[in-house]
Symmetry: C2
Subunit: 342 residues, 2 copies
DNA sequence: GGGAATTTGATAGACGTCTATCACAATCTG
DNA sequence: CAGATTGTGATAGACGTCTATCAAATTCCC
């Protein structure tokens, strides 16, 4: 009924409280034989340390640092806002979150920031990674200094980081292909693609997955080369309008991230009779509106709040030294249509 | 930097620890003037009680009771499994979960169970509600005895319960209509519907939303009267096969819950050339397989694990007397297709 | 076997809050 | 103004764990 305490462990193992404590907290000066006796007692009793009491006693605090790219990207700004709210909420659990921003796509700046982090002031880091060798090396150094590191939204492949919280972008692209293909079922024609500059890696993966599905499942629908929007609304609008005019047989549009507003405007300019199915990424006020007025048919989304919550939970688990680290439920590729808008 | 404690509050308010404690824990014997002085100090300092320390001191435990319908319904059994896992996980936070089962759709049995709950042994209840007056009355009595009550998956309309964790089923039906309509775009014909018996209320709401969307947005697609499957696989198979044979212009099928297996079999029997779009509810091993082999086009789902987590979090918040109670993020209607399967 | 080194035990106080008790002060009653 | 009543303060110990210190016991080495 009541949980065993270290007192029970000491009694069962036939040792003193001090010794139990030494074993629990990996202090030295315990003979191997004694240690195993204590561990055995812990196992038999099913003892689990009371984290609340332990943290209370040692005045533990979790000092986390979140690193995001700066810039206009509306998904990142939404993520930043969620982060601020979550930071306020977890304060009561003695978790202090500091947010840092670095120029987007600048691996050097990110690596510099990481190198400058003081293990005396930071226990764990969550970052939207730029995938580059300098970054990987900087992460390795961080870990060597005893700081926990996870990636967020955009992964850093390799063994350096201790976890990733975000969606599978190839899967996201495949899902987009699957949806758009079905929306265009029975018709044949071309598909326009708009890529932004949100994260080069993300968009490349999305394109990959998208074209995979189109090629194998919907061979009557032919993807055009992606338009490079670079977050510039007018550029997207012009280029997409031009493509739509040049190829009257465009029956679908896939927008992989930034640039949704430009795409919506280009589509609004089309003559009323023309029927184009549209799938885009990231639910924002703009894409939401376009979904409601019928310009977009579906929006793929990643829940940034859950990503933030997941990163916090994962870091805390790592810092609590839970073995194995707590499995954070994977972030899903969410599909929104007009009628399941949140 | 460090959070204020009750000692700081006492000092600032110019009173003793005892008085602060009396105010914090709503004990009587404090003059109104003194009380407001303490409250003012709390406000000025931004004091928040350290829940971990408080719970440690008073050996607080959260005793929760989850009430689920018994029977073969695979969604409910999945939910039960998730509940068992979560129960093990939250044990370390001093939360003890007891699971009770009642006959499905039996309002009297549910009300009896509620009436029998002892406030000495249970602090909070989460239940899959059957919507009936006896139940509402029983809930009111529970609340009067000081037990927190929330509904799970299936709501009990009205002010008695303190929260609901689950999806909006009208919205789910609308989403299904929206998807199936688009999948059948450009074709005209009939839509078959399969309702199970999972929860009468849920299915009625789903049908409502579904037909709404079909009527207003896809008038060329005409819904047939729903088949009542009652969890009986063979019955679903036979009736759906018969309908498919009788109406060669059926171009879509919407299965609202139980009965997916029977529907899949009926569809597998169709001649190869016939193209029917299929949308069903609840992701299970069977619906997953049907999605993978192309029998189903989309599956709508509610994440039962999150529902369980949400109910636990909500109940704990209510019991901690947080004001306002913590806003549990709403459960989303999730859409799965072959390529975004989790 | 004696001294040094290592391992273990005992004890005390801390973390922030709760509960209980008792004494003392302030207010009310008549 | 005495006595009853109510409000307040002081103190002690508890919750389960951690940290630190010092003494005692055990082991090791020559």
């Amino acid at each position: 009924m009541t949980r065993p305490t270290i007192h029970d462990v000491a009694r069962v193992a036939g040792v003193s409280l001090s010794t139990v404590d030494r074993v629990l907290n990996d202090r030295e000066g315990v003979r191997e034989k004694t240690r195993s006796r204590v561990l055995e007692a812990i196992g038999n009793l099913g003892f689990e340390r009371n984290l609340a009491a332990a943290n209370l006693s040692r005045k533990r605090r979790y000092r986390l640092c979140f690193i995001l790219p700066e810039g206009e990207n509306s998904f990142m700004r939404a993520l930043e806002a969620d982060l601020a709210e979550e930071a306020a909420a977890v304060l009561r659990d003695f978790t202090v979150i500091e947010t840092r921003k670095v120029p987007a796509f600048d691996a050097g700046a990110l690596a510099d920031l990481l190198r400058g982090l003081d293990p005396e002031a930071v226990d764990g880091v969550a970052m939207v990674a730029t995938d580059a060798t300098v970054v990987r090396i900087a992460v390795r150094e961080l870990r060597a200094r005893g700081i926990a590191v996870v990636t967020l939204v955009s992964d850093l492949p390799g063994p350096e980081k201790q976890g990733f919280v975000g969606i599978d972008n190839v899967q996201a692209g495949r899902t987009a292909g699957s949806l758009l293909g079905r929306f265009c079922r029975g018709r044949s024609g071309r598909i326009a693609m708009v890529s932004g500059s949100m994260l080069v890696r993300d968009h490349a993966e999305r394109r990959l997955g998208f074209e995979q599905v189109l090629r194998t499942e919907f061979p009557d629908q032919t993807p055009l080369a992606p338009i490079e929007g670079r977050d510039d609304k007018n550029r997207v609008r012009e280029q997409l309008s031009a493509q739509l005019a040049e190829y009257p047989d465009i029956i679908g549009v896939y927008s992989m991230g930034a640039g949704n507003r430009g795409a919506a405007e280009a589509l609004a300019d089309l003559p009323p009779g023309r029927d184009v199915a549209v799938v885009v990424h990231e639910l924002t006020p703009y894409s939401r509106e376009a979904l409601l007025d019928g310009t977009f048919d579906a929006v793929l989304h990643q829940n940034s709040r859950r990503e933030v919550q997941g990163a916090i939970a994962l870091l805390r688990g790592l810092l609590d030294d839970q073995t194995p680290p707590p499995a954070v439920e994977p972030i899903r590729v969410e599909i929104y249509m007009r009628d399941n808008l949140p």
